[in-house]
């Protein structure tokens, strides 16, 4: 089900990575994240469509209660394999804010070109409803956390009993992957929380994996196109380098 093509192209950017080595940044001293196998890793990685669609179900039924997805459009769902008709139906099932003919605020059914609807009208409303903590927008969440998808997955599966003697502050939950270890978000996932349309068993790990795949797609919807372009551009440039180098050898052959 999960497709993973291990790529060799990473060697290409090894030189660049060496240059970047000095930025080995903060957070390295924190606990290490478990490395999940992601369909989208590597230079030939693509989004596992089935996982991303299941992940949308998790977002839609669980995360969306509190977390917005402001930058994303309903039409983005076509990129993970939903048909235009399905996207239209999903969008139409949501009410988006609008104005009626007399200029009064109202709502209308969503269109594929609409942004995802936020659960709260503004940050203040979120704060008031959420006991002072604003649930972060999820459209760029994967890019906005060190560790990216590995961190999101670890956080979602990282709720455990606190270690002996740890005083868990009121209104927080122990999660060993959260920077302060005490997170205000209650454990969002549980077994069989969602009913997967494809019959996949909805364990916490499965749900976390799927929703992380979906959120990674939402954070970088251009990723597959970008990587495909990268392979072509680099193959072209390697050929070009060879040709130019041959030309250089020929031109310089008379010089001693």
């Amino acid at each position: 089900m999960m497709r993973r093509i291990t790529g060799k192209g990473w060697g290409l950017i090894a030189a660049a990575a060496l240059v970047a080595a000095p930025i080995a940044t903060f957070g390295a001293d924190e606990i290490t994240l478990p490395h999940e196998k992601w369909s989208f890793n590597g230079p030939f990685g693509t989004f596992d469509r089935a996982a991303a669609q299941r992940g949308f179900a998790v977002y839609n039924q669980v995360c969306a209660t509190c977390h917005s997805l402001r930058s994303a459009y309903f039409r983005d769902l076509e990129g993970i394999g939903f048909s235009p008709e399905q996207v239209k139906a999903i969008a139409a099932s949501k009410q988006v804010p609008a104005l009626d003919d007399s200029g009064q605020p109202t709502t209308r059914p969503g269109l594929p070109s609409d942004h995802f609807v936020s659960p709260f009208p503004n940050d203040d409303a979120a704060k008031a409803a959420m006991n002072g903590a604003i649930p972060p927008d999820q459209s760029l969440l994967v890019n906005a956390r060190a560790g990216g998808p590995d961190y999101i997955y670890a956080l979602l599966t990282g709720y455990t009993d606190p270690p002996q003697g740890a005083a868990v502050p009121e209104g927080t939950y122990y999660n060993k992957y959260f920077p302060s270890q005490f997170i205000k978000m209650p454990p969002p996932l549980s077994d069989d929380l969602v009913q997967y349309a494809d019959g996949t068993k909805a364990t916490v790990a499965q749900e976390a994996h799927d929703v992380t795949t979906f959120l990674t797609y939402i954070a970088s919807p251009e990723m597959e196109q970008r990587k495909r372009m990268g392979v072509k551009v680099i193959l072209f440039l390697i050929m070009m380098t060879g040709l130019v180098y041959a030309m250089k050898r020929k031109i310089w052959s008379a010089v001693h």
């Binding site: 950017i13 930058s71 130019v244």
Partner: protein, 424 residues
Amino acid sequence: MAGLHKSEFQNPLLNWIDTRLPILSMMTKEYVVFPTPKNFNYFWNFGALATVSLALMMVTGIFLAMHYVPNSALAFDSVQSIMRDVNYGWLLRYAHAVGASMFFIAVYIHMFRGLYYGSYKKPRELLWILGVVILLLMMATAFMGYVLPWGQMSYWGATVITNLFSAIPLIGNDIVVWLRGGFAIDNATLNRFFSLHYLLPFVILGVVFLHVVALHVTGSNNPLGIDVKSPQDTLPFHPYYTVKDSVGVCVFLIVWAAIVCFAPNMLGDPSNSIPANPLQTPSEIVPEWYLLPFYAILRSVPNKLGGVVLMFGAILVLFVLPWLDTSPVRSARFRPLYRPFVIVLVLAVVVLGMVGGHRPEGIWVVLGRVATTYYFFHFLVLLPVLGKLERPLPLPNSISRPVISPRGGGPLPGATPAKPMEKA
């Protein structure tokens, strides 16, 4: 100089233009027949690579500015709109963001080339100084560009950097307010940074032009660091160095494309994907990697004013480098003492870069101070003294007939360049 230019162009239209505006003759003189030492190694590619970087940054930047909105309420979302709505907007933005790093890589290697082969020495002092001016302008441009996406690191980086000026006695705080256009980083700051970020690259372009003019007066240095003695020492710039630079440009573009397409956020900070929030300070505020060595120098001094002075001093010292180095020998190949020390300097700067990326605690404080000390010791003490103490190796007589060949391949009496050039 009254009278028309005698053009050698055969094409009547080109001849007509060139007679009245001899720009074609000038281009031919400076970029085609320009006599260039024939012994360049690939380190001499990096000037061309920096030029290509500047051009690509300006092109991508101009197109980004067509879609970007410099308003504190809209900037973050307008960047997302570039990423999601604009055709190939993600390509423009990632090429531009990664391009800043590529530009600095090219310029830092270009500067190392200058340090190692003594390219800053007489008569190329002004050429070097113009280069340092370009570096300063680049840093200002890159810093302001990093503020534009209006993420957390944009906002807090701008806060920290503008705050540095408050270390100036008496008028420091007023200067900070003046720079920011208010009492905190806000819309006014974003607007002026956008304006300046668009302006400064053109200033850089102007200084690059002067840099090249100065280069074409003195001629290029070369790996042996000795002067060109005869036309046998040189080759016309075209096709020899246009093709050699092209090889470098291709490899450079491979690295650039690989980062853009496969790891575009590798060099960025995750915090900048969070919209700027004046009420929430990130746990760490770090500049981009290319400014980390200077950031480390800043933090190595326990006193704010002292840190700021040393940080700016680290660049200002480069302006007087041509007079700090007392050795008449340019190339490190013939300077047995200077050669290891210049490598130590590179190591010190790399260490400073790593120090800048870590919390100032434990071993990092010590490393930062040792490396900072060496940096200034190298320029202010070592270079003036080394020139007096060192016994340079014997220099070759000329580029085409080195008496001693440090890289094998002795003199070849029969060999002459394909097209010996008259010295301009």
